[in-house]
């Protein structure tokens, strides 16, 4: 058997292969040299060399978001691990399944302030679902198996496995466990039958119902069930930023996104409903604003979530159901179809009449006659040119909200953005992850001139892998969302939100070997997009749209205010 023994580095590679991993994003360094040597000798997966570790984690994260599979990143010890932290925290806040393998200094050097040593397990502890430090090569395979299991099950999340360099050199027999069970970790799948029955009863009794869906619907692959439920009942539905695509946005039963920049109809219906069904959503501050204001209106709440700690955290609910959202909704649908009871159609009709009045305010209208390029117009044209079928990644700020508002997603896993942490610099590496997973798909990164500069070095990775991403830069010269808050709440004192000396983005794109286009007039928007997705479809195209610098995102609920306290155009 001795000749069957593998080094720790070889075990890492074999585990990734046996876990079915096809793409790994990473960056080498001293502590992971043995792992990279083992990667060099294998063909089971491709390794994508990024230009900064943060990008490796974002790319792996978006790979996971767009496929539903666990993303994998490898980084070295010390700065490799600290650079990865923003990516890990981003994945943690949005519950993305990820395994991050970090190198560590040799076991004997741990605690000695060795070169490129940091306490990776300590640093990442508050922003991972779980993490491990490997102390014995014989634990390596089982730990990696556990890491994949923990990352993907229950409420998903990132798992860090910290591997000291000497462990990657030690040898032992290799066996990848077929399954793993942990006495301390048993996520709930099936919801409680009694609670489900109660929920269905409550739903059917509703006179002003509302269905509110979140990222859990996308992560839990429950979009078909949500669609089925909403259409069976004919109830209005809304979605959080993270849940977009969980229900087909062009459908009239969909009221648009809710929350700080949600539509009037979604926010008002959320505030004034009498029965609320929350599915895989967590009532966070950007969604319901002030919980006290939200609770002023009496309503009964049913909440389905795989994570019990998300239930009754910010808002007390009446019927909590812990379980996989798809399974629970399946059960609910069965009961609804078998039920002889019907929702009160007259009440429902009156509710819809009210909703249509809100909807008639057309809160997403904007000035279509402007001589300046309106960012909303760019997104609408992007939707048209891509037939609504593109994967859209975004960074964080105004452009992110416009993309969410004006690109009606009709499928899950197409809208890839950092919702919880709000990480600028996410968009471009995320687009890389998506394009690697879906080589033939249209992938666009909607970004701002602030965000894009936070990971712009990845244009080089895109060149190496010939990724035909379209970078849609809505360039208003300002850190737009900061500028908007300063305009509204800081008496127009624009402190440090204006960037002078921006690079010539066309030349910059060309310097990296890509196509750059500058668009200054509204009439040139569509032709540029058509070129990007047509003539240059196999190239990365970087389009610098010079947009109206004073445009704001509406509606807007100021921080700390309630859902019915929106600022409108």
């Amino acid at each position: 058997m001795a000749d069957m023994e593998l080094t720790g580095a070889e075990i890492v590679v074999r585990c990734l292969r046996d876990a079915g991993i096809k793409h790994v994003f990473g960056y080498p360094g001293g502590a992971v040299l043995d792992i990279y040597d083992a990667i060099y000798k294998q063909t089971a997966f491709e390794h994508i060399l990024v230009r900064h570790e943060q990008a490796a984690v974002h790319a792996a994260d978006a790979y996971a978001r767009s496929t539903g599979q666990v993303g994998v990143a490898i980084v070295t010890s010390g700065p490799g691990a600290t650079n990865a932290v923003t990516g890990i925290a981003t994945a943690y806040m949005d519950s993305i399944p990820l395994v991050v393998i970090s190198g560590q200094v040799p076991t004997a050097a741990i605690g000695q302030d060795a070169f490129q040593e940091v306490d990776t397990v300590g640093i990442t502890r508050p922003c991972v679902k779980h993490n491990f430090l490997i102390k014995d090569v014989r634990d390596l395979a089982i730990t990696l198996k556990k890491a994949f299991y923990i990352a993907a099950t229950g409420r998903p999340g990132p798992v860090v496995v910290d591997v000291p360099k000497d462990i990657t050199q030690h040898r032992c027999a290799y066996e990848y466990p077929a399954s793993v069970s942990m006495r301390s970790y048993n996520p709930t799948g099936k919801g409680h039958a009694g609670q489900i029955k109660k929920a269905v009863q409550m739903l059917l009794e509703a006179r002003r119902p509302m269905i509110y869906t979140g990222g859990g619907v996308v992560l839990g692959n429950a979009a078909p069930q949500v669609t089925d439920l909403v259409r069976t009942l004919g109830y209005p539905a809304t979605s959080t930023l993270m849940g977009l695509g969980g229900y087909p946005a062009p459908d009239p039963l969909f009221l648009g996104m809710l929350g700080m920049h949600g539509t009037i109809e979604a926010n008002m219906a959320m505030q004034h409903c009498d029965v609320l069904l929350a599915v895989g959503a967590r009532f966070d501050d950007r969604v319901i604003g002030n919980p006290k204001h939200f609770s002023k209106e009496a309503r009964r709440i049913i909440h389905i979530d795989v994570d019990p700690s998300s239930i009754s955290k910010r808002v007390r609910v009446d019927v909590p159901i812990v379980g996989e959202v798809a399974q629970v909704l399946d059960e609910m649908l069965k009961l609804i179809q078998a039920s002889t009871e019907q929702p009160d159609q007259a009440a429902l009709k009156a509710w819809w009449t009210q909703i249509e009045l809100w909807r008639a305010q057309d809160c997403l209208k904007y000035d279509r006659e402007s001589a300046l390029i309106k960012p909303q117009y760019v997104i609408e044209k992007l939707y048209e040119v891509t037939g609504g079928q593109a994967y859209i990644t975004s960074d964080v700020g105004q452009h992110q909200m416009w993309a969410a508002q004006y690109y009606p997603f009709d499928q899950p896993r197409r809208w890839i953005n950092s919702g919880g942490l709000g990480t600028m610099g996410f968009g471009l590496p995320a687009a890389m992850g998506v394009q690697m997973a879906h080589p033939d798909a249209q992938v666009a990164c909607v970004t701002g001139e602030g965000s894009i500069q936070m990971n712009i070095q990845e244009l080089s990775t895109c060149k190496e892998w010939k990724l035909p991403i379209k970078v849609i830069l809505l360039n208003n010269g300002y850190l737009g969302m900061v500028r908007q808050w300063q305009e509204f709440f800081y008496e127009e004192r624009y402190a440090e939100s204006y960037m002078t000396s921006l690079p010539d983005f066309v030349k910059l794109a060309e310097a990296y070997g890509h196509v750059g286009i500058r668009v200054e007039k509204p009439e040139d928007v569509e032709p540029a997009l058509r070129d990007a997705f047509g003539k240059y479809k196999d190239r990365l195209v970087f389009i610098n749209f010079l947009t109206d610098p004073r445009e704001n995102v509406f509606p807007m609920i100021p921080a700390g205010k309630g859902l019915s306290e929106m600022i409108l155009v």
Binding site: V121, G122, R125, P126, K129, H130, L133, I150, M182, R183, S184, Y185, D307, P308, S309, S312, K313, R316
Partner: protein
Amino acid sequence: MRHILSLLMENESGALSRVSGLFSARGYNIESLTVAPTEDATLSRMTIVTRGSEDVIEQITKQLNKLIDVVKVQDLSDGSYIERELMLVKVRASGDLREEMKRLADIFRGRIIDVSDKTYTVELTGPGSKLDAFLQAVDPAAILETVRTGASGIGRGDRIMKI
């Protein structure tokens, strides 16, 4: 409200920091925390005394359960339970004080476990309130040093936490 939570967790390195980190990151308060391995060396038993509204305690319990290393969480204060804390207290014991300290220790069923010509070290166990009462009974100037373990708790009778 004061609550006393009992946890069984994997006896892994870093497990304690996951729990204490959770409390500090989410702004929960810890009055005391004790931890040691159980008769099964792969498991540690932890007792946490905390304060909070019912909502906060519910969140704390859920968040603790969410930690991968945590096998079981029980709010002992949900039923009947016993709690004990150990205190070692070094007191001045010279002159008149020598007899008085001995008497006080006896009244509180403490044991004098170390003696010097000027001091006694008294070992006391009991609920935290009893230890507080002892400290209040002694002239503050006579207290030289106190060491308290924090509470350990266990359910009464058939109330057993095991896996």
